[in-house]
Symmetry: C2
């Protein structure tokens, strides 16, 4: 909502709250249904507990379900909302919601509560929800909905349109109609556009598209998102391995997947969950400390490595001057190659093997290392009037960059092979690890040359 409309919106919220408090349910309902579902959900989220209880009294379960479809299911207070409703009301609201959204909510509840709610629902929706609850997180099955429109092939467009009209109210999306054969296999697809522009006496089977692009119910949600993006679909059918139609995934859920994945990659690189923007600075500190303290102990091993070389430093204190330059630059290079590697893993290129990527990253590391190393050699050489010192720093930096680059590109690939999210091999981890290797490289080289640059 644009800033300029913000004031209008705040006034509207206050007005609605006053009507709700005044128990003027007719006036409240009129004003409330002026709002779009998403706006209704925003109004709901601005209420306190007693206001919400009043709201459940003036609206039907189905009306509440309409805007619950638009509440982010990750909302921390979702279990609280459901607990404060009468159980029949909650069950009936979930039944009225789109199945995928209702299941997303159920997933945040404990098993006894889920069972109690499902027991109060009509047979079919309860069955649908129970089966959706079984699919693994982040698979096509977990994000699909069962409210699609399916028709038979051997009918005219006119009769298909009639079936469509009957089912339109319950479907999440009516712009694709799926054609099933007698054994319920997905046999074709027809768009509503094709349904309305063609002659109504045409048979469905003559204009349906038989080359249906579908995804498997066990497919990863990221690959589903990629297919929908590539083909510019509004929805995609989900099938089992015998091509039975199980559900559809709509583009609005895919937008959430794309955003989730992006946020989790970004969080990984930052070493903090950026989605969790708590208002409370103490809670924020509690979220950030685990990573910081873990890395602190990794950093202690770097410190103890330098400690090992303390006599070298006391002999040539000039070496201390360049520690942070070398670790910092190698850390930057490692972060770059890490980010590239994580991104590549998300969009795998068939022609590019893991080993080839690693080799190519080594060449990139060699070139960036050489250029940076030569630059540093010259700068330090002129600054300190010692090209031997310059050479030591430059060589150390070059080697440290090559190693950091390799680590940055190798570790995400390793994580992925071990079945972890590669994005978790985060930026701070790589730079702290690269501190350790850089210091080791630096002092090993310096030790060898130290006699030449101490006067």
């Amino acid at each position: 909502m644009a800033d300029i409309e913000n004031q209008v919106w705040v006034t509207q919220l206050r007005h609605l709250k006053r009507l709700l408090a005044a128990e003027d349910s007719a006036a409240f309902r009129t004003a409330f249904f002026e709002l779009h579902n998403w706006e209704q959900s925003q109004f709901f989220l601005s209420l306190n507990r007693s206001e919400r209880l009043a709201l459940y009294d003036v609206l039907t379960a189905s009306e509440v379900g309409n805007f619950f479809d638009d509440i982010d299911d990750d909302d921390e207070e979702m279990p609280e909302y459901l607990a404060e409703m009468r159980p029949e009301f909650a069950a009936s609201m979930l039944t009225e919601m789109y199945t995928d959204n209702a299941v997303d909510i159920l997933e945040h509840l404990d098993q006894p509560t889920i069972n109690r709610l499902l027991a109060q629902m009509p047979h079919q929706p309860a069955l649908d929800m129970r089966s959706l609850l079984h699919y693994d997180d982040e698979t096509a099955g977990a994000i699909m909905t069962t409210e699609y429109i399916a028709i038979a092939a051997n009918q005219t467009l006119a009769s298909a349109m009639y079936a469509l009209r009957e089912k339109a109210d319950d479907a999440e999306l009516i712009y694709y109609v799926y054609v099933l054969d007698n054994a319920k296999h997905l046999a074709g697809i027809i768009s509503l556009r094709d349904l309305i522009v063609n002659d109504q006496e045409t048979m469905v089977q003559t204009i349906m598209n038989e080359r249906v692009i579908s995804v498997q119910v066990t497919d990863d949600q990221e690959s589903v998102a990629q297919t929908i993006r590539d083909y510019n679909f509004f929805a995609i059918p989900v099938t089992d391995d015998e091509n039975h139609l199980l559900g559809i995934i709509t583009v609005d859920d895919i937008i959430d997947v794309i955003d989730e994945e992006a946020v989790s990659d970004y969080s990984g690189l930052a070493g903090v969950d950026v989605e969790d923007t708590t208002e409370n600075p103490l809670k924020a500190a509690a979220k950030r400390l685990p990573w910081l303290v873990t890395l602190l102990f990794l950093g202690m091993s770097t410190a103890s490595l330098i400690n090992h070389y303390e006599s070298l430093v006391s002999e040539a204190s000039i070496l201390a001057v360049f520690i942070s330059l070398i670790t910092g630059t190698a850390g930057n290079a490692g972060t770059q190659s890490l980010a590239i590697a994580v991104r590549r893993l998300a969009f795998p290129d068939q022609e590019r093997t893991f080993l080839r990527s690693l080799f190519s990253e080594m060449v990139t590391g060699l070139v960036t290392g050489l250029v940076t190393g030569i630059a540093v050699t010259l700068v330090v050489g002129f600054w300190k009037h010692s090209f031997i010192l310059g050479f030591v720093i430059g060589l150390a930096m070059c080697c440290a960059i090559i190693v950091a680059n390799l680590a940055g590109s190798f570790i995400p690939g390793l994580m992925a092979r071990l079945g972890f999210d590669p994005a978790v091999a985060s930026g701070p981890f790589i730079s702290t690890l690269s501190d350790l290797t850089s210091v080791l490289i630096y002092f090993s080289i310096a030790q060898y040359f130290v006699a030449s640059f101490i006067h």
Copy 2:
């Protein structure tokens, strides 16, 4: 496309190439039109120049336009593709494409080429494209299309359906129909679902939704994306400040916007453009070096600061042991707060001012700094049998973290106020900057206490 289908796809590509080479245009066309548009575009991208020239001969401009709609307009070779077509063919292909996609392509060409192409088009599309070319990058105007369906209010649904059928072929999306008044103001919206389920004798004005959510043509594309996400729309109308309908933005373009923004944030944090995954390791090095070398020079100032304290280090070489621990930990903390700040700026919270965020970040920094500082004090104290040394390291780390946290949250806000993309204040920049402040804090504190821990 799933891995398992990959082999099928490769075979299919080879088969198509053979048919094209054999100049068997009938067989080629049959096989080619089995493919979805996106697959056709992938086939096209796999061709070399002479194969592409053959393709332009067996397909019409309109058929080529159909799959050009699905080619990423950022494709580097787009100008080359257009240059190798006959000018009339290129102009005719662009005319057949959706206006927004055609304009995205034109934007990558030079002005004389654009003018030449527009001159060969029919009047109306040329006019539409010329006007779309004028909108600023990353605004609603720049990503909207003009192929929407608009109808008048004072007609029955049956006559609206008739109009819809006539226009359906040219429209990018037919699932929303926009209702205009006599002065072409956007007066209402009606979904195709409502059009088909209601009685066909109903008047449009009685069922249309008059509370249309629209965006302004000058709105930032990110805020358009947020509105479409919030409301779960498939498309949103774009108006000027007098509420004239200028175009629509469809959800497929919004997915690209969301992805672009995520990639640019991620790239900013990594200090490298992750989208540009070139195959050539030398080119990759050339892309990464500018950031690395810039940061190297910032790092040199840290080195020269340590150099300033060299006599202190030679007096107490133990100080060198903790340089990387302090700079590394502060850098990690700064990156965390930077990421949170960048994310907050993308989703501004009306109730949270910039100053309040900064204050809250200071409290977070204080708490994380204290906890980390105390941990380090104890570890170093026991390790080195000197709690004074431990205290110096711990105090320095605490202060360095607070400063890094403040810098991480302040700099993106400052960038945004100065009109830059806050994500550009990238991770490597913050950690290199925090190296400098950390070292300054560390040695200032150490200098003060040095007499107490040298034996």
